[in-house]
């Protein structure tokens, strides 16, 4: 480091915003290393998201859009920015907050309190769908039976379905989520590391839709860095919740995330570069090789078993996935190998309600 040690209180010429050249720069953009002041950062941040939305034609005037809101930084910033852009560019959207209550004591109950405050702050209606109501199982109960090992996998599959159900209940067919550039790059990396080429091609698409589902999901933050989201929330003093889930994240994802963070520290553009690579990878068309087992499972799962109280039978879903859920048992999957966990996640993601 050959940097001069000048008194901090004096604003160095090099520390001025590279856009307005008037105010003091407060942040360095990881994307292009540009140094910006707060005002210019807000402007660039919001405009880039607007451009992402218009380039991908995510919305039409009059659309009702559900924001998947967890109370965390990404979805809180998403709600705030969409409200700003909707007003600034007259998207003519009706925005609704849609939250999932997984039933995790000490985590989700607290984060839902944040979402409830967001509801008032952003003047948006809020709908909360709970696992307990929908499946008659809370996440705490599932973990008590199935163990911590695959809790993230279960939870992820159930949440996706729960969001769809919540949106359907509100008559909404578009859900936006706070997945950011870091998340997308992480998914590309994970799919490469797992050799999951089937998912690799889809992992960078901004709009996704499950077959047979009328509900579209999109990621307006696809090109937005996590660092900038956190900075935006910090400078704008947005009210967000930041406690780690009580249940440990999937080890493989956690390790991939750390790898990505270490890469970003050396070369900040690598997140955009990984997404770019993911977008431009064209895989050789492969011979269809669907294992008959999965094929059959999909057919079987088309039937939905609904309990008398309107909840979906979870037992059936998990049984189809080769799992038994039984409240009497203490643990069923504690000795599942890594290989088994991957298979389980694949099977679970094939489920349709």
């Amino acid at each position: 480091m050959t940097e001069e040690r000048l008194p901090v209180r004096k604003v160095k010429v090099t520390a001025l915003c590279e856009l307005c050249h008037g105010r003091k720069a407060v942040m360095k953009r990881p994307k292009n290393l540009q140094k910006l002041c707060k005002e210019c950062f807000y402007n660039v941040f919001e405009t880039e998201i607007h451009n992402t939305i218009t380039d991908a034609e995510l919305f039409k005037p009059g659309d009702v859009v559900a924001i998947g809101a967890s109370g965390g930084k990404d979805s809180t910033v998403l709600a705030s920015v969409l409200k700003t852009l909707n007003e600034r560019y007259n998207y003519q959207l009706k925005l609704v907050l849609l939250s999932i209550d997984e039933g995790i004591k000490g985590y989700r109950d607290d984060s839902l309190a944040t979402v409830k405050r967001n509801q008032a702050q952003y003047e948006m209606p809020l709908e909360i769908v709970s696992y307990k109501d929908l499946y008659n199982w809370s996440m705490d109960e599932i973990v008590a039976c199935a163990g911590m090992r695959s809790s993230c996998t279960y939870c992820g599959v159930l949440r996706r379905q729960a969001l769809d159900r919540g949106a359907a209940k509100l008559g909404i067919n578009h859900i936006v989520t706070g997945h950011n550039a870091d998340d997308v790059a992480e998914t590309v990396l994970m799919n490469i590391l797992r050799g999951d080429t089937a998912r690799l091609e889809k992992s960078t698409t901004i709009v996704t839709q499950s077959t047979g589902s009328p509900i579209r999901r999109s990621k307006p933050f696809k090109y937005t860095y996590q660092k900038e989201i956190v900075l935006y929330a910090h400078y704008k003093k947005l009210d967000y919740f930041s406690t780690e889930c009580t249940y440990a994240p999937e080890a493989f994802r956690g390790t991939t995330r750390e790898l990505l963070k270490s890469l970003e520290a050396i070369r900040p553009s690598c997140i955009m570069d990984i997404i770019y690579s993911g977008e431009h990878l064209t895989l050789k068309p492969k011979k269809k090789k669907i294992t008959p087992k999965y094929k059959n499972q999909k057919k079987v799962n088309d039937e939905v078993e609904v309990n008398a109280d309107g909840s979906v039978s979870l037992n059936k879903e998990f049984k189809d996935a080769g799992l038994e859920m039984n409240r009497a048992k203490v643990s069923i999957e504690n000795n599942a190998s890594i290989d088994g966990a991957a298979k389980l996640s694949k099977t679970l993601e094939q489920l349709s309600f």
């Binding site: 942040m27 967890s70 930041s242």
Partner: protein
């Protein structure tokens, strides 16, 4: 002479300091000489409650990638990073970006 600074642990990072988000510190270091690196060493030794949590904050002898560091609300990358010379009245904000959103 001790240097009086404020240190904030945000974004869930307060778990490593018994849930305390804001720390007012009197750092026993020489003003004009002590750098942010010295402060980080001091924090590691004094504020982190459980030594097992040190890797949550430190990796390869520096602040772990994924933790955003602000010096008086300015990105530390613009202030010389660890080489920044700390002054009385400074506010250092450490925010974890590693949590789910």
């Amino acid at each position: 002479m001790a240097i009086k600074v404020k240190v904030e642990f945000l974004g869930g990072l307060d778990v490593i300091s018994s849930g305390v988000r804001e720390h007012k510190l009197s750092v026993p270091l020489e003003e004009g000489e002590a750098t942010l690196k010295d402060l980080v060493d001091y924090i590691t030794k004094t504020i982190i409650t459980d030594p097992k949590d040190i890797p949550v904050f430190i990796e390869d002898d520096t602040v772990r990638p994924g933790i955003l560091v602000l010096i008086n609300d300015t990105d530390w990358e613009l202030e010389g990073g660890e080489e920044y010379v700390i002054e009385s009245g400074d506010v250092f904000t450490f925010t974890s970006t590693l949590h789910g959103g």
